[in-house]
């Protein structure tokens, strides 16, 4: 991995990112509208390198690892590309066409949030600073 020293680091960063992003009214309501159990699968970088977001039923629950139930959507990519994506430095459409992002299940809900990636990137930068990982911030 280019940006992470082990598989725990990205998950720590991404869980914190979702915690912070959920405090933003627009992103919070956008995520709730997705209404899915989503597994962000980075296991190509380690068996525990993944987290899940359950935004069904008007709640947002984020947890490390694979979800217990069958996810509605699985987004598989590397932890480095996830870092690029949350930093708004990875063109998601191009990444799908290059099979760097692999999608399984209904992605229409989550893709509706793609235009908000610029806003997410600002929150991600703050999150990395909170964690003392300024060196990971992409310029």
């Amino acid at each position: 991995m280019e940006y992470w020293k082990d598989e725990t680091e990205p998950i720590k960063a991404f869980l914190k990112l979702f915690e912070n992003a959920s405090k933003d009214e627009e992103l919070n309501s956008g995520l709730k509208k997705v209404n899915q159990l989503i597994w962000f699968d980075y296991t190509e970088d380690g068996p525990n390198c993944s987290f899940n977001v359950d935004c069904r039923g008007g709640e947002i629950k984020v947890a490390a690892g694979k979800p217990e139930g069958k996810p509605d959507l699985v987004m598989s990519l590397s932890a480095d590309d996830a870092h690029r994506s949350w930093s708004n430095k990875l063109n998601p459409v191009m990444a799908i066409t290059r099979k760097k992002i692999r999608v399984k299940g209904s992605a229409t809900g989550l893709l509706k949030l793609a235009p908000k990636l610029k806003k997410v990137a600002v929150i991600y930068e703050k999150t990395l600073k909170e964690l003392g990982w300024e060196d990971k911030i992409m310029k």
Binding site: G30, M94, T97, I101, V103, K104, G105, L111, P115
Partner: protein, 399 residues
Amino acid sequence: MRYPDINFESFFTWANRPRIMYSPGLRRELGYEMAQLGATKVVMFTDEGLVKAGVADAVAEEVKNSALKLVGTFDEILQDARIENINEGAEFYRKTGADAMVAVGGGSVMDTAKAVNILVGSGEKDFRPLAEQAGLWEGAQPLPPHVAFPTTAGTGCEVTTAMVVLDTEARAKLQVTHPYCNSDIAMLDPELTVRLPPKITASTGMDALTHAIEGITSTGAQPISDALGLHAVRLIFKYLPLAVKEPDNIDARGNMLIAGTLAGMCFVNTMLGAAHATAHALGAFYGVPHGFANAIMLPVVMDFNSEHSPERYMMIADAMGLDVAGKGPLQAAKEAVEAVIRLKSEIGLTETLKDFNVPADPEKLMPMVELAGTDGQISYNPRYLEEEDILGLYMKAIQ
């Protein structure tokens, strides 16, 4: 004009699969080319209007004159590719026992045909779960032979790896991509476009112009796409007024077909912007035909964006034939907006959103604003838009 300082993403890819052939009367090569692709039994996808106008027959005749067998014509394609219609089309394809398809039509026909071919190739029967997945690249395999004859000079669907599908239940347009969904051969035969009414010629031509301009100004813009988009702009500004005024002018029709294809090859590699995002939502909520919606939104969006990528609009102004020498990029950008407005007037596209019964009531517009704000294409607009910006664009376009 001296080439301005232009930025583009430091990493980009450019890909385009189909072979493109051009000639007035090109349909006479159809039998030979489809046989080269391994076809023996061909099913045609088109719409009722093209059957009535004799355009579908002109192509069908060439299949019959060849060693190929025409085993059926599915002419029930509606405006905007629709999931139920796609599923019916795939069932029709299978029942005929065809091993290849020819699509004859505009964007709705070609997008429907692409989706049908994905269903046939994958053995699936319902397109809905595939449409919801949006990106169908993982494990994608080449599809059965597919030749497309665009009958409008506009959508670029013959070459793009994307299709837009109307979900009538969700009142949304879904954008779906598949690496092999575009035609194996895009056959550009301008003789098939001469019966296109002036209004449709004009609106589909504006669709092509919007593809080119948004492709050049997208955040994903890159030099190869720039070259394609800028030449499309040159051809459209020269030949669209001619094609509208002289429907039988094969030279004008041919150059417009080429422009539509170039613009498609431009944007499929860079994506688009706010004009398309707002146009998709207009289609979903008020049924505004895509070409008209783009024609209305394009100058409004260009004006909104002009200060954020003036150098790119300056290149566009130059391609439009405007004298921009010695002018600053922003002035050139503003003149490009005026040139689009003049072009629309010249080709008789004077409609505003009022003419499509879009209400000038911000509250009523908000669901459409929300939909446009979540459209995938809006991410590629050179200027970031909040919902109030999108509402502002619509309000301006209603006047």
